[in-house]
Amino acid sequence: MTMAGIVTSRHLLLWLLFGAAMLALPQFVSNGTIRIIIFANFLAIFAMSWDFLSGKTGYVSFGHPFLIGIGAYASAILSYRFHVPLEFSIPLAVLATLVGGTLFFLPALRIKGTYFALVTLAFMELMYQLIQVVRPDLTGGTRGMSGIKTVLTGAAPNFYLSFMLMFVIAFSLWLLSRTRLGTALDAIAMNEEAVSGSGLSTTRLKLFAFMVSATVAGIGGAFYVHYLGSIAPRALFDINFVFTIIVSALIGGASTIVGPMIGAFFMTFLLEYLRPVLPGSERYFVYGMIALVLYVYKPKGILAILADLRDGMRAQGTGRAQRGKAS
Protein backbone atom coordinates (compact mmCIF):
# COMPACT_ATOMS: atom_id res chain seq x y z
CA MET A 1 0.00 0.00 0.00
CA THR A 2 0.76 3.47 1.14
CA MET A 3 4.08 5.06 0.25
CA ALA A 4 4.87 2.66 -2.54
CA GLY A 5 1.58 3.36 -4.24
CA ILE A 6 1.91 7.12 -4.43
CA VAL A 7 5.64 7.86 -4.56
CA THR A 8 8.25 6.36 -6.86
CA SER A 9 11.96 6.25 -6.12
CA ARG A 10 12.46 8.64 -9.05
CA HIS A 11 10.30 11.19 -7.25
CA LEU A 12 12.32 10.81 -4.06
CA LEU A 13 15.56 11.14 -5.98
CA LEU A 14 14.38 14.39 -7.58
CA TRP A 15 13.37 15.79 -4.18
CA LEU A 16 16.74 14.79 -2.71
CA LEU A 17 18.66 16.35 -5.60
CA PHE A 18 16.66 19.53 -5.29
CA GLY A 19 17.26 19.69 -1.53
CA ALA A 20 20.98 18.98 -1.85
CA ALA A 21 21.45 21.53 -4.65
CA MET A 22 19.69 24.24 -2.67
CA LEU A 23 21.62 23.51 0.52
CA ALA A 24 24.89 23.81 -1.39
CA LEU A 25 23.83 27.12 -2.90
CA PRO A 26 25.24 29.55 -0.26
CA GLN A 27 28.74 28.33 -1.20
CA PHE A 28 28.35 29.62 -4.72
CA VAL A 29 26.23 32.77 -4.77
CA SER A 30 26.44 36.21 -3.19
CA ASN A 31 24.69 37.22 0.00
CA GLY A 32 22.44 39.50 -2.03
CA THR A 33 21.18 36.58 -4.08
CA ILE A 34 20.76 34.54 -0.91
CA ARG A 35 18.52 37.27 0.51
CA ILE A 36 16.42 37.14 -2.64
CA ILE A 37 16.09 33.38 -2.32
CA ILE A 38 14.97 33.74 1.30
CA PHE A 39 12.07 35.85 0.04
CA ALA A 40 11.40 33.27 -2.65
CA ASN A 41 11.22 30.58 0.04
CA PHE A 42 8.62 32.53 2.00
CA LEU A 43 6.64 33.38 -1.12
CA ALA A 44 6.74 29.68 -2.05
CA ILE A 45 5.28 28.78 1.37
CA PHE A 46 2.47 31.31 0.91
CA ALA A 47 1.82 30.21 -2.67
CA MET A 48 1.64 26.53 -1.66
CA SER A 49 -0.70 27.39 1.21
CA TRP A 50 -2.91 29.17 -1.30
CA ASP A 51 -2.62 26.28 -3.74
CA PHE A 52 -3.67 23.59 -1.27
CA LEU A 53 -6.86 25.51 -0.67
CA SER A 54 -7.68 27.40 -3.86
CA GLY A 55 -5.72 25.49 -6.50
CA LYS A 56 -7.12 22.19 -5.30
CA THR A 57 -10.70 22.81 -4.22
CA GLY A 58 -11.39 25.75 -6.54
CA TYR A 59 -12.40 27.99 -3.60
CA VAL A 60 -10.31 30.96 -4.67
CA SER A 61 -8.96 33.00 -1.79
CA PHE A 62 -8.25 36.67 -2.41
CA GLY A 63 -7.57 37.19 1.24
CA HIS A 64 -4.69 34.92 2.07
CA PRO A 65 -2.81 37.74 3.86
CA PHE A 66 -5.61 37.47 6.41
CA LEU A 67 -4.28 34.06 7.45
CA ILE A 68 -0.63 35.00 7.03
CA GLY A 69 -1.29 38.17 9.03
CA ILE A 70 -2.79 36.28 11.95
CA GLY A 71 0.31 34.09 12.17
CA ALA A 72 2.65 37.06 11.83
CA TYR A 73 0.84 39.40 14.21
CA ALA A 74 0.11 36.76 16.84
CA SER A 75 3.73 35.72 17.14
CA ALA A 76 5.01 39.30 16.89
CA ILE A 77 2.68 40.56 19.64
CA LEU A 78 3.40 37.60 21.92
CA SER A 79 7.16 37.96 21.65
CA TYR A 80 7.43 41.76 21.37
CA ARG A 81 4.81 42.83 23.91
CA PHE A 82 4.69 39.87 26.29
CA HIS A 83 8.26 38.59 25.87
CA VAL A 84 7.05 35.07 25.13
CA PRO A 85 9.99 33.03 23.78
CA LEU A 86 9.75 32.21 20.07
CA GLU A 87 9.55 28.47 20.82
CA PHE A 88 6.11 29.16 22.26
CA SER A 89 4.99 32.25 20.38
CA ILE A 90 5.29 30.59 16.96
CA PRO A 91 3.24 27.45 17.79
CA LEU A 92 0.65 29.63 19.53
CA ALA A 93 0.50 31.83 16.45
CA VAL A 94 -0.15 28.77 14.28
CA LEU A 95 -3.00 27.78 16.61
CA ALA A 96 -4.41 31.30 16.27
CA THR A 97 -4.21 30.96 12.49
CA LEU A 98 -6.27 27.76 12.74
CA VAL A 99 -8.99 29.73 14.51
CA GLY A 100 -8.76 32.32 11.73
CA GLY A 101 -8.92 29.51 9.18
CA THR A 102 -12.17 28.31 10.73
CA LEU A 103 -13.65 31.80 10.31
CA PHE A 104 -12.36 31.84 6.73
CA PHE A 105 -14.06 28.49 6.15
CA LEU A 106 -17.55 29.53 7.26
CA PRO A 107 -18.51 31.39 4.05
CA ALA A 108 -17.37 28.34 2.04
CA LEU A 109 -20.32 26.42 3.47
CA ARG A 110 -22.74 28.66 1.61
CA ILE A 111 -21.04 30.42 -1.27
CA LYS A 112 -18.53 29.64 -3.95
CA GLY A 113 -16.88 31.15 -7.00
CA THR A 114 -16.60 34.91 -7.31
CA TYR A 115 -18.66 35.55 -4.20
CA PHE A 116 -16.37 33.48 -2.05
CA ALA A 117 -13.33 35.29 -3.47
CA LEU A 118 -14.92 38.64 -2.64
CA VAL A 119 -15.74 37.62 0.91
CA THR A 120 -12.13 36.55 1.49
CA LEU A 121 -10.97 39.89 0.11
CA ALA A 122 -13.30 41.54 2.61
CA PHE A 123 -11.71 39.46 5.40
CA MET A 124 -8.33 40.90 4.49
CA GLU A 125 -9.60 44.49 4.27
CA LEU A 126 -11.40 44.12 7.58
CA MET A 127 -8.25 42.83 9.22
CA TYR A 128 -6.28 45.75 7.73
CA GLN A 129 -8.70 48.29 9.20
CA LEU A 130 -9.12 46.54 12.55
CA ILE A 131 -5.42 46.12 13.18
CA GLN A 132 -5.02 49.90 12.97
CA VAL A 133 -7.80 50.86 15.35
CA VAL A 134 -8.31 47.99 17.78
CA ARG A 135 -5.67 48.01 20.53
CA PRO A 136 -2.97 49.92 18.62
CA ASP A 137 -0.96 49.68 21.83
CA LEU A 138 -0.60 45.98 21.03
CA THR A 139 -0.49 45.94 17.24
CA GLY A 140 1.48 49.12 16.74
CA GLY A 141 -1.43 50.57 14.75
CA THR A 142 -0.73 52.01 11.33
CA ARG A 143 3.03 52.10 11.89
CA GLY A 144 3.31 48.47 12.92
CA MET A 145 6.17 47.16 15.01
CA SER A 146 9.90 46.97 14.52
CA GLY A 147 12.71 45.51 16.53
CA ILE A 148 10.89 42.18 16.77
CA LYS A 149 13.12 39.31 17.83
CA THR A 150 14.59 37.34 14.93
CA VAL A 151 15.11 33.59 14.99
CA LEU A 152 18.56 33.75 13.45
CA THR A 153 20.84 36.42 12.08
CA GLY A 154 22.87 36.54 8.89
CA ALA A 155 21.98 35.63 5.34
CA ALA A 156 23.16 32.03 5.21
CA PRO A 157 21.56 30.80 8.48
CA ASN A 158 18.27 32.43 7.50
CA PHE A 159 18.52 30.86 4.10
CA TYR A 160 18.94 27.38 5.61
CA LEU A 161 16.06 27.93 8.00
CA SER A 162 13.66 29.30 5.39
CA PHE A 163 14.65 26.67 2.89
CA MET A 164 14.21 23.79 5.33
CA LEU A 165 10.77 25.12 6.27
CA MET A 166 9.82 25.52 2.64
CA PHE A 167 11.22 22.13 1.70
CA VAL A 168 9.43 20.24 4.48
CA ILE A 169 6.16 22.03 3.73
CA ALA A 170 6.50 21.44 -0.01
CA PHE A 171 7.26 17.76 0.41
CA SER A 172 4.44 17.22 2.93
CA LEU A 173 1.84 19.02 0.83
CA TRP A 174 3.03 17.22 -2.28
CA LEU A 175 2.67 13.87 -0.47
CA LEU A 176 -0.78 14.85 0.82
CA SER A 177 -1.92 15.86 -2.62
CA ARG A 178 -0.96 12.46 -4.00
CA THR A 179 -3.13 10.54 -1.53
CA ARG A 180 -6.75 9.70 -2.24
CA LEU A 181 -7.63 12.71 -0.13
CA GLY A 182 -5.72 14.91 -2.54
CA THR A 183 -7.63 13.36 -5.43
CA ALA A 184 -10.92 14.05 -3.66
CA LEU A 185 -9.95 17.71 -3.16
CA ASP A 186 -9.13 17.99 -6.86
CA ALA A 187 -12.53 16.48 -7.61
CA ILE A 188 -14.24 19.22 -5.59
CA ALA A 189 -12.84 21.83 -7.97
CA MET A 190 -14.19 19.86 -10.95
CA ASN A 191 -17.67 19.09 -9.67
CA GLU A 192 -18.55 19.48 -6.01
CA GLU A 193 -22.03 17.94 -6.38
CA ALA A 194 -20.57 14.81 -7.92
CA VAL A 195 -18.21 14.47 -4.96
CA SER A 196 -21.08 14.45 -2.49
CA GLY A 197 -22.85 12.24 -5.04
CA SER A 198 -20.00 9.80 -4.53
CA GLY A 199 -20.89 9.58 -0.85
CA LEU A 200 -18.20 11.95 0.47
CA SER A 201 -18.78 14.80 2.89
CA THR A 202 -17.54 17.83 0.97
CA THR A 203 -17.83 19.95 4.11
CA ARG A 204 -15.32 17.76 5.91
CA LEU A 205 -12.97 17.67 2.90
CA LYS A 206 -13.09 21.43 2.51
CA LEU A 207 -12.53 21.96 6.22
CA PHE A 208 -9.44 19.79 5.99
CA ALA A 209 -8.09 21.81 3.05
CA PHE A 210 -8.74 25.08 4.91
CA MET A 211 -7.03 23.84 8.05
CA VAL A 212 -3.95 22.63 6.20
CA SER A 213 -3.78 25.87 4.24
CA ALA A 214 -4.17 27.93 7.44
CA THR A 215 -1.47 25.94 9.25
CA VAL A 216 1.00 26.52 6.43
CA ALA A 217 0.06 30.21 6.17
CA GLY A 218 0.47 30.55 9.95
CA ILE A 219 3.89 28.90 9.99
CA GLY A 220 4.99 31.01 7.03
CA GLY A 221 3.63 34.23 8.53
CA ALA A 222 5.19 33.67 11.96
CA PHE A 223 8.64 32.77 10.65
CA TYR A 224 8.47 35.59 8.10
CA VAL A 225 7.89 38.24 10.77
CA HIS A 226 10.76 36.84 12.85
CA TYR A 227 12.97 36.99 9.79
CA LEU A 228 12.07 40.58 8.88
CA GLY A 229 12.09 41.80 12.47
CA SER A 230 9.32 44.23 11.66
CA ILE A 231 5.70 44.26 10.56
CA ALA A 232 3.48 46.91 9.02
CA PRO A 233 -0.16 46.47 8.04
CA ARG A 234 0.24 48.45 4.81
CA ALA A 235 2.72 46.01 3.28
CA LEU A 236 1.04 42.86 4.56
CA PHE A 237 -2.64 43.43 3.80
CA ASP A 238 -1.88 44.63 0.33
CA ILE A 239 -3.65 43.63 -2.85
CA ASN A 240 -0.29 43.48 -4.67
CA PHE A 241 0.85 40.90 -2.13
CA VAL A 242 -2.31 38.86 -2.83
CA PHE A 243 -1.68 39.01 -6.54
CA THR A 244 1.96 38.03 -6.17
CA ILE A 245 0.87 34.92 -4.26
CA ILE A 246 -1.91 33.99 -6.68
CA VAL A 247 0.10 34.70 -9.83
CA SER A 248 3.02 32.62 -8.47
CA ALA A 249 0.69 29.68 -7.92
CA LEU A 250 -1.06 30.05 -11.26
CA ILE A 251 1.95 30.58 -13.49
CA GLY A 252 3.68 27.69 -11.74
CA GLY A 253 0.70 25.41 -12.24
CA ALA A 254 -2.25 25.44 -9.85
CA SER A 255 -3.13 22.37 -7.79
CA THR A 256 0.30 20.80 -8.28
CA ILE A 257 2.08 22.18 -5.14
CA VAL A 258 5.44 21.89 -6.94
CA GLY A 259 4.22 24.35 -9.59
CA PRO A 260 3.52 27.19 -7.13
CA MET A 261 6.94 26.59 -5.58
CA ILE A 262 8.60 27.04 -9.00
CA GLY A 263 6.29 29.96 -9.69
CA ALA A 264 7.33 31.70 -6.48
CA PHE A 265 11.01 31.49 -7.41
CA PHE A 266 10.26 32.69 -10.93
CA MET A 267 8.23 35.63 -9.65
CA THR A 268 10.75 36.68 -7.01
CA PHE A 269 13.65 36.74 -9.43
CA LEU A 270 11.57 38.41 -12.10
CA LEU A 271 10.52 41.20 -9.73
CA GLU A 272 14.07 41.53 -8.45
CA TYR A 273 15.70 41.74 -11.89
CA LEU A 274 13.13 44.23 -13.05
CA ARG A 275 13.88 46.48 -10.09
CA PRO A 276 16.75 48.43 -11.72
CA VAL A 277 14.76 48.96 -14.92
CA LEU A 278 11.37 49.64 -13.36
CA PRO A 279 11.85 50.82 -9.78
CA GLY A 280 8.19 51.64 -9.08
CA SER A 281 5.06 49.55 -9.05
CA GLU A 282 5.17 49.41 -12.89
CA ARG A 283 6.89 46.08 -12.31
CA TYR A 284 3.54 44.63 -11.40
CA PHE A 285 2.35 45.60 -14.86
CA VAL A 286 5.08 43.44 -16.38
CA TYR A 287 4.21 40.38 -14.37
CA GLY A 288 0.55 40.99 -15.10
CA MET A 289 1.43 40.80 -18.80
CA ILE A 290 3.48 37.63 -18.35
CA ALA A 291 0.67 36.05 -16.37
CA LEU A 292 -1.83 37.02 -19.06
CA VAL A 293 0.25 35.60 -21.90
CA LEU A 294 0.82 32.42 -19.95
CA TYR A 295 -2.89 31.94 -19.13
CA VAL A 296 -3.85 32.36 -22.75
CA TYR A 297 -1.24 29.98 -24.16
CA LYS A 298 -0.48 27.68 -21.26
CA PRO A 299 -3.16 27.88 -18.55
CA LYS A 300 -1.58 25.00 -16.67
CA GLY A 301 1.61 26.95 -16.06
CA ILE A 302 5.35 26.46 -16.00
CA LEU A 303 5.12 22.91 -14.69
CA ALA A 304 3.10 21.91 -17.77
CA ILE A 305 5.68 23.59 -20.03
CA LEU A 306 8.42 21.57 -18.33
CA ALA A 307 6.39 18.37 -18.73
CA ASP A 308 5.85 19.17 -22.43
CA LEU A 309 9.58 19.71 -22.87
CA ARG A 310 10.33 16.39 -21.21
CA ASP A 311 7.74 14.56 -23.33
CA GLY A 312 9.03 16.34 -26.43
CA MET A 313 12.59 15.24 -25.70
CA ARG A 314 11.46 11.68 -25.10
CA ALA A 315 9.45 11.65 -28.32
CA GLN A 316 12.43 13.04 -30.20
CA GLY A 317 14.64 10.40 -28.67
CA THR A 318 12.38 7.55 -29.65
CA GLY A 319 11.78 9.16 -33.06
CA ARG A 320 15.50 9.25 -33.71
CA ALA A 321 15.86 5.67 -32.54
CA GLN A 322 13.08 4.56 -34.88
CA ARG A 323 14.56 6.45 -37.81
CA GLY A 324 17.88 4.85 -37.01
CA LYS A 325 16.26 1.44 -37.14
CA ALA A 326 14.54 2.20 -40.43
CA SER A 327 17.74 3.24 -42.17
Binding site: G5, T183, G197, S198, L200
Partner: protein, 242 residues
Protein backbone atom coordinates in the same frame (compact mmCIF):
# COMPACT_ATOMS: atom_id res chain seq x y z
CA UNK B 1 -41.55 -8.65 0.75
CA UNK B 2 -39.54 -6.12 2.69
CA UNK B 3 -40.04 -2.53 1.68
CA UNK B 4 -36.71 -0.92 0.85
CA UNK B 5 -37.77 2.61 0.03
CA UNK B 6 -41.07 4.28 0.88
CA UNK B 7 -42.35 7.71 -0.09
CA UNK B 8 -45.35 8.94 1.84
CA UNK B 9 -47.34 12.03 0.86
CA UNK B 10 -44.24 13.82 -0.40
CA UNK B 11 -44.82 17.43 -1.41
CA UNK B 12 -42.29 19.75 -3.01
CA UNK B 13 -43.12 23.29 -4.06
CA UNK B 14 -40.90 25.60 -6.09
CA UNK B 15 -42.50 28.98 -5.44
CA UNK B 16 -46.03 28.67 -6.79
CA UNK B 17 -45.34 25.48 -8.72
CA UNK B 18 -46.10 22.18 -7.06
CA UNK B 19 -43.46 19.84 -8.49
CA UNK B 20 -44.45 16.87 -6.37
CA UNK B 21 -47.95 16.73 -4.98
CA UNK B 22 -48.56 14.18 -2.24
CA UNK B 23 -46.66 11.38 -3.90
CA UNK B 24 -46.89 7.96 -2.26
CA UNK B 25 -45.20 4.82 -3.52
CA UNK B 26 -42.71 2.23 -2.39
CA UNK B 27 -40.15 -0.18 -3.79
CA UNK B 28 -39.54 -3.65 -2.43
CA UNK B 29 -36.10 -5.10 -2.03
CA UNK B 30 -34.91 -6.58 -5.31
CA UNK B 31 -37.72 -4.96 -7.24
CA UNK B 32 -37.38 -2.73 -10.28
CA UNK B 33 -39.80 0.14 -10.63
CA UNK B 34 -40.37 2.31 -13.69
CA UNK B 35 -41.20 5.94 -13.07
CA UNK B 36 -42.82 7.37 -16.17
CA UNK B 37 -44.52 10.55 -17.19
CA UNK B 38 -44.28 13.36 -19.72
CA UNK B 39 -41.60 16.07 -19.53
CA UNK B 40 -41.98 18.22 -16.43
CA UNK B 41 -43.99 15.59 -14.55
CA UNK B 42 -41.56 15.81 -11.61
CA UNK B 43 -39.61 12.57 -12.03
CA UNK B 44 -36.16 14.08 -11.61
CA UNK B 45 -37.45 16.14 -8.66
CA UNK B 46 -38.36 12.90 -6.91
CA UNK B 47 -34.84 11.57 -7.40
CA UNK B 48 -33.39 14.79 -6.02
CA UNK B 49 -35.71 14.54 -3.01
CA UNK B 50 -34.79 10.92 -2.32
CA UNK B 51 -31.08 11.82 -2.50
CA UNK B 52 -31.51 14.87 -0.27
CA UNK B 53 -30.18 17.28 -2.89
CA UNK B 54 -33.35 19.24 -2.26
CA UNK B 55 -35.72 18.89 0.71
CA UNK B 56 -39.45 18.19 0.60
CA UNK B 57 -41.96 20.62 2.08
CA UNK B 58 -44.04 17.82 3.54
CA UNK B 59 -44.19 14.04 3.71
CA UNK B 60 -41.70 11.37 4.66
CA UNK B 61 -39.07 9.30 2.85
CA UNK B 62 -38.04 6.07 4.55
CA UNK B 63 -35.22 3.69 3.74
CA UNK B 64 -35.51 0.24 5.31
CA UNK B 65 -38.22 1.65 7.55
CA UNK B 66 -36.06 4.52 8.78
CA UNK B 67 -36.87 8.15 8.09
CA UNK B 68 -33.98 9.65 6.10
CA UNK B 69 -35.35 13.14 5.41
CA UNK B 70 -32.91 14.73 7.87
CA UNK B 71 -29.80 13.21 6.32
CA UNK B 72 -27.34 14.89 3.96
CA UNK B 73 -26.77 13.43 0.50
CA UNK B 74 -23.49 11.71 1.38
CA UNK B 75 -25.09 10.13 4.45
CA UNK B 76 -27.93 8.72 2.35
CA UNK B 77 -25.38 7.32 -0.07
CA UNK B 78 -23.62 5.78 2.91
CA UNK B 79 -26.88 4.00 3.73
CA UNK B 80 -27.13 2.50 0.30
CA UNK B 81 -28.95 4.81 -2.13
CA UNK B 82 -27.30 6.19 -5.25
CA UNK B 83 -28.39 7.90 -8.42
CA UNK B 84 -27.21 8.68 -11.92
CA UNK B 85 -27.95 11.92 -13.73
CA UNK B 86 -29.73 12.66 -16.97
CA UNK B 87 -26.64 14.59 -18.06
CA UNK B 88 -23.57 12.59 -16.93
CA UNK B 89 -21.34 14.50 -14.51
CA UNK B 90 -17.83 13.09 -14.73
CA UNK B 91 -14.75 14.71 -13.15
CA UNK B 92 -13.47 16.26 -16.35
CA UNK B 93 -9.72 16.27 -15.67
CA UNK B 94 -9.63 12.72 -14.30
CA UNK B 95 -9.43 9.57 -16.36
CA UNK B 96 -11.91 6.71 -16.12
CA UNK B 97 -9.92 5.05 -13.32
CA UNK B 98 -9.74 8.33 -11.38
CA UNK B 99 -13.48 8.87 -11.65
CA UNK B 100 -14.14 5.39 -10.31
CA UNK B 101 -11.54 5.99 -7.58
CA UNK B 102 -13.50 8.93 -6.18
CA UNK B 103 -16.64 6.79 -6.11
CA UNK B 104 -14.87 4.03 -4.21
CA UNK B 105 -13.44 6.30 -1.51
CA UNK B 106 -14.69 5.72 2.02
CA UNK B 107 -16.13 8.81 3.70
CA UNK B 108 -13.29 8.83 6.20
CA UNK B 109 -10.40 11.27 5.96
CA UNK B 110 -7.96 9.04 7.78
CA UNK B 111 -8.58 6.06 5.51
CA UNK B 112 -8.31 8.33 2.48
CA UNK B 113 -4.86 9.35 3.68
CA UNK B 114 -3.58 6.04 4.94
CA UNK B 115 -4.75 3.75 2.17
CA UNK B 116 -3.84 4.21 -1.45
CA UNK B 117 -6.14 3.53 -4.37
CA UNK B 118 -6.96 -0.06 -5.33
CA UNK B 119 -6.21 -0.35 -9.06
CA UNK B 120 -7.45 -3.94 -9.22
CA UNK B 121 -10.85 -3.05 -7.83
CA UNK B 122 -11.03 -0.03 -10.16
CA UNK B 123 -10.26 -2.22 -13.15
CA UNK B 124 -12.74 -4.89 -12.08
CA UNK B 125 -15.50 -2.32 -11.75
CA UNK B 126 -14.63 -0.72 -15.08
CA UNK B 127 -14.73 -4.12 -16.79
CA UNK B 128 -18.02 -5.01 -15.10
CA UNK B 129 -19.80 -2.08 -16.77
CA UNK B 130 -18.34 -2.93 -20.17
CA UNK B 131 -15.17 -0.86 -20.40
CA UNK B 132 -12.03 -2.47 -21.78
CA UNK B 133 -8.70 -2.24 -20.00
CA UNK B 134 -7.50 0.30 -22.57
CA UNK B 135 -10.30 2.71 -21.61
CA UNK B 136 -8.99 3.07 -18.07
CA UNK B 137 -6.79 6.06 -18.81
CA UNK B 138 -9.14 7.89 -21.17
CA UNK B 139 -10.42 11.32 -20.18
CA UNK B 140 -14.19 11.91 -20.17
CA UNK B 141 -13.88 14.44 -23.02
CA UNK B 142 -12.88 11.61 -25.37
CA UNK B 143 -15.71 9.24 -24.36
CA UNK B 144 -18.94 8.66 -26.28
CA UNK B 145 -22.30 9.24 -24.60
CA UNK B 146 -22.63 5.49 -24.08
CA UNK B 147 -19.25 5.35 -22.35
CA UNK B 148 -20.11 8.37 -20.22
CA UNK B 149 -23.26 6.56 -19.03
CA UNK B 150 -21.16 3.50 -18.26
CA UNK B 151 -18.73 5.68 -16.31
CA UNK B 152 -21.61 7.19 -14.37
CA UNK B 153 -22.93 3.72 -13.59
CA UNK B 154 -19.47 2.57 -12.52
CA UNK B 155 -18.97 5.54 -10.21
CA UNK B 156 -22.42 5.00 -8.75
CA UNK B 157 -21.85 1.26 -8.29
CA UNK B 158 -18.55 2.08 -6.59
CA UNK B 159 -20.50 3.46 -3.62
CA UNK B 160 -21.99 -0.04 -3.14
CA UNK B 161 -25.65 0.94 -3.33
CA UNK B 162 -28.57 -1.31 -2.48
CA UNK B 163 -30.93 0.78 -4.57
CA UNK B 164 -30.08 2.74 -7.69
CA UNK B 165 -32.07 5.60 -9.14
CA UNK B 166 -31.40 5.84 -12.86
CA UNK B 167 -32.39 9.03 -14.64
CA UNK B 168 -32.84 8.67 -18.42
CA UNK B 169 -30.14 6.02 -18.78
CA UNK B 170 -30.93 5.51 -22.46
CA UNK B 171 -30.99 9.14 -23.58
CA UNK B 172 -28.56 9.97 -26.35
CA UNK B 173 -27.40 6.39 -26.87
CA UNK B 174 -27.09 4.38 -30.07
CA UNK B 175 -29.10 1.17 -30.46
CA UNK B 176 -25.98 -0.88 -29.72
CA UNK B 177 -25.23 1.13 -26.58
CA UNK B 178 -28.82 0.74 -25.37
CA UNK B 179 -28.48 -3.03 -25.72
CA UNK B 180 -25.21 -2.96 -23.74
CA UNK B 181 -26.64 -0.88 -20.90
CA UNK B 182 -29.81 -3.01 -20.86
CA UNK B 183 -27.75 -6.18 -20.52
CA UNK B 184 -25.77 -4.63 -17.70
CA UNK B 185 -28.92 -3.58 -15.84
CA UNK B 186 -30.56 -6.97 -16.40
CA UNK B 187 -27.50 -8.62 -14.92
CA UNK B 188 -27.53 -6.30 -11.89
CA UNK B 189 -31.20 -7.15 -11.41
CA UNK B 190 -30.41 -10.84 -11.39
CA UNK B 191 -27.79 -10.11 -8.75
CA UNK B 192 -30.51 -8.60 -6.59
CA UNK B 193 -30.10 -4.84 -7.12
CA UNK B 194 -33.19 -2.68 -6.55
CA UNK B 195 -33.94 -0.02 -9.17
CA UNK B 196 -36.11 2.96 -9.86
CA UNK B 197 -35.69 3.80 -13.53
CA UNK B 198 -36.86 6.92 -15.32
CA UNK B 199 -36.86 6.67 -19.10
CA UNK B 200 -38.69 7.96 -22.13
CA UNK B 201 -37.55 4.95 -24.08
CA UNK B 202 -40.51 2.81 -22.98
CA UNK B 203 -39.67 -0.12 -25.22
CA UNK B 204 -36.21 -0.52 -23.69
CA UNK B 205 -37.61 0.10 -20.24
CA UNK B 206 -40.35 -2.55 -20.25
CA UNK B 207 -38.17 -5.69 -19.96
CA UNK B 208 -36.18 -4.12 -17.13
CA UNK B 209 -39.01 -3.43 -14.68
CA UNK B 210 -41.52 -5.32 -12.53
CA UNK B 211 -43.92 -2.48 -11.98
CA UNK B 212 -44.58 1.09 -13.04
CA UNK B 213 -45.75 4.34 -11.49
CA UNK B 214 -47.02 7.01 -13.86
CA UNK B 215 -47.21 10.67 -12.97
CA UNK B 216 -48.02 14.03 -14.47
CA UNK B 217 -47.82 17.54 -13.00
CA UNK B 218 -46.41 16.10 -9.78
CA UNK B 219 -49.37 13.79 -9.20
CA UNK B 220 -49.45 10.04 -9.36
CA UNK B 221 -52.02 8.92 -11.96
CA UNK B 222 -51.50 5.19 -12.25
CA UNK B 223 -49.65 2.33 -10.62
CA UNK B 224 -49.41 -1.35 -11.44
CA UNK B 225 -47.89 -3.66 -14.00
CA UNK B 226 -46.10 -1.92 -16.85
CA UNK B 227 -48.76 -2.99 -19.39
CA UNK B 228 -51.67 -1.95 -17.23
CA UNK B 229 -50.14 1.46 -16.58
CA UNK B 230 -49.44 2.01 -20.27
CA UNK B 231 -53.04 1.11 -21.14
CA UNK B 232 -54.45 3.44 -18.53
CA UNK B 233 -56.70 6.17 -19.96
CA UNK B 234 -55.17 8.98 -17.92
CA UNK B 235 -51.63 7.91 -18.80
CA UNK B 236 -52.47 7.86 -22.50
CA UNK B 237 -54.09 11.28 -22.17
CA UNK B 238 -51.04 12.67 -20.35
CA UNK B 239 -48.64 11.38 -23.00
CA UNK B 240 -50.72 12.21 -26.02
CA UNK B 241 -52.15 15.42 -24.63
CA UNK B 242 -55.78 14.46 -25.05
Amino acid sequence: MAKLLELDQVVKRFGGIVATNGLTFDVNKGESLALIGPNGAGKTTIFSLIMGEIRQNAGTIRLKGEEISGLATHQRIGRGIARTYQVPRPFADMDVAGNIRVGMMPNNLWQMLAKGPDPDAELALALSVGFSEGDLHKKPATLSMGDLRKLELARTLATRPEIMLLDEVFAGLTVGEIAQISDLLAQKRREGMTFIIVSHDLRSLEPLVDRAVAMTFGRQIAEGSFRAVMDDEQVRAAYLGQ
